[in-house]
Symmetry: C2
Subunit: 336 residues, 2 copies
């Protein structure tokens, strides 16, 4: 198998770290490896597969020897770095929000729409964390019985906001348990033992950025641009894992048992739905694995084609790093 | 003002304790006060308004001198105790699930349907915690523009499960922060830094008891028995306060600004909806107060009569004890 020269931008962040871990776990054919981060991390040494790597800052020509770059930084950084990496000849899997809705940029969840990857050069966008797990769960229904309407409410962990948010939840939890008030720096309000119905900025219509991403990205991935989809996104005091409560109206009538069968046949999706044995998806069992978990599948009692279910995934793995490495694997298979 | 002889069953539990606190805070005209609990608490002394009270177990005739009894125990206890208290001449405000849907038993949120109280003897049921805050938020819309459909997802704190659940979240959080695995006894799985899509038992249709309560009780309180209402109930790692993400389809078109005005005019409901100043309802600002908070009010972009919003309340106060004392106050005003 040919070795690929890989660059990782944002290598010292939570998603960058998990991407490196996934490249090793999944035995991605990494040849040369270049690690990039901001000047705060310059000179730091990271160990990967038993070798030491020095973290570099990005300069002109940084990517000229990279075939594939994972960009694991924020949207502002991606806007600068991704065009440079493409200009210098790399294919970029970008995890930010910068290019996801851009025409000509595939937005890919490999189990759902990897056909967009064949022969693609330039930018490939990795969707938002909650979008990925929602798309995996909706995809078998979209194909088999069609989707008429989706309404979701999310329960999102702090690791989606990066390492400092994880530290803020640790510190805030300790403060509350010690009878103090939790402080807030990453978030505008304390997150420990609290709920923030606020992820990303608000637009004039009152939707948050996270809600918009979930709505527009899911439409693009499923190739259903007119699908009615409404989202409410809430940050909850968890470290890892995102939950989504989903209401879906299908095109055709389908029973919960048929839904379980359709979902069980979907790559990347695991049905955990034995409520009589108290088995249902939870962040503690999703954390550390790459499958999206779905359960609590049941029929609405007022509307024939409406179902409700509950989806959980590890937001750093399938919701970010795993999906990006899976994109690279699928892409690579088209290069051979 | 005449003094009322009051009994409190379950006086040592979280809701019983809060009921006693509310009776004092709201200056309810308590004459004689009798406190009851299980044999585990017998002989324990509680202080209320500067006086000491010995906790008693319930015997025949326990309630014969009580005019009003607050029953703050579980459903099984209520099934035994409430009929006894009624037979011995008391009016009972019961906080359990035992009698809520029984014909002839008013299920009351005073700001919404206190007209059922006039002259009522016997049992008055206090609704489920999430139902109360949902009913307060939906009521002004039901009256002004009608309701065609409601879909909700809940985010419920552990105090709804009682004192041992609060202790389990304390202990579990400490364990996780110390790098250990949280244990579980009250809940079937660890609740610390986790989500349980499971509150109360599951029925054959896959709905949980909590979801059923929210659906059927809201229909009864709003006098809309055929209202399509679907719920997903999730336990989240908070101590106090419940959040609800609500989708509502109204009978007539209404703008978010009109909704804010309607809601601002509803007794017991406070609109907290300045997202540009990052003001929205959160458990940390609902805890310790009696108002239901509503915000994130916005219009669905696919359906003209569909709105989304977010509701938070203190589940021990308005979700339980405050509502029960308000029922008693409203009842009392009809006795004079």
């Amino acid at each position: 198998m040919p070795q690929i020269a890989v660059g990782v931008v944002g290598a010292t962040g939570l998603v960058g770290e998990m991407t490196l871990q996934q490249l090793a776990e999944r035995a991605f054919p990494v040849g040369d490896l270049r690690l990039f981060a901001s000047s705060r991390s310059r000179g730091q040494t990271l160990t990967w597969s038993g070798q030491h790597f020095t973290v570099e800052t990005i300069r002109e020509g940084s990517f000229s020897d990279c075939q594939l770059v994972f960009c694991c930084a924020g949207t502002d950084i991606s806007r600068q770095v991704v065009p440079q990496a493409v200009a210098e000849g790399a294919v970029v899997v970008d995890k930010s929000n910068a290019f996801r809705l851009q025409e000509g940029v595939p937005l890919v969840v490999p189990e759902v729409n990897s056909h967009h990857l064949a022969g693609h050069r330039g930018i490939i966008a990795n969707p938002n964390c909650t979008t990925i797990q929602l798309a995996v769960a909706l995809s078998p229904l979209a194909r088999a019985v069609g989707l008429a309407r989706v309404v979701v409410s999310t329960y999102q962990s702090v690791s989606g906001s990066g390492r400092q948010a994880v530290q803020e939840l640790v510190r805030g939890s300790q403060q509350v348990l010690a009878g103090q008030t939790a402080d807030a720096a990453v978030y505008p309000h304390p997150i420990a033992f609290n709920l923030l119905p606020h992820i990303d900025g608000f637009d004039d219509e009152g939707f948050s950025g996270e809600e918009r991403k979930l709505m527009t990205e899911t439409q693009k991935i499923l190739s259903l641009p007119a699908l009615p989809l409404a989202a409410t996104a809430v940050r909850v005091p968890l470290f890892y894992g995102h939950g989504i409560s989903v209401m879906v109206e299908t095109g055709e009538t389908v029973t919960p048992e048929q839904v379980r069968q359709l979902m069980a046949g979907q790559e990347g999706l695991q049905v955990v739905d034995q409520v009589e044995q108290l088995q249902y998806p939870m962040p503690v069992n999703a954390a550390g694995q790459d499958q999206v978990l779905v359960g609590r599948i049941r029929k609405d009692e007022s509307f024939d084609r409406v179902l409700h279910f509950w989806v959980v995934a590890d937001n750093l793995r399938k919701g970010a790093a795993t999906n990006a490495v899976q994109i690279a694997e699928a892409l690579l298979s088209t290069w051979e």
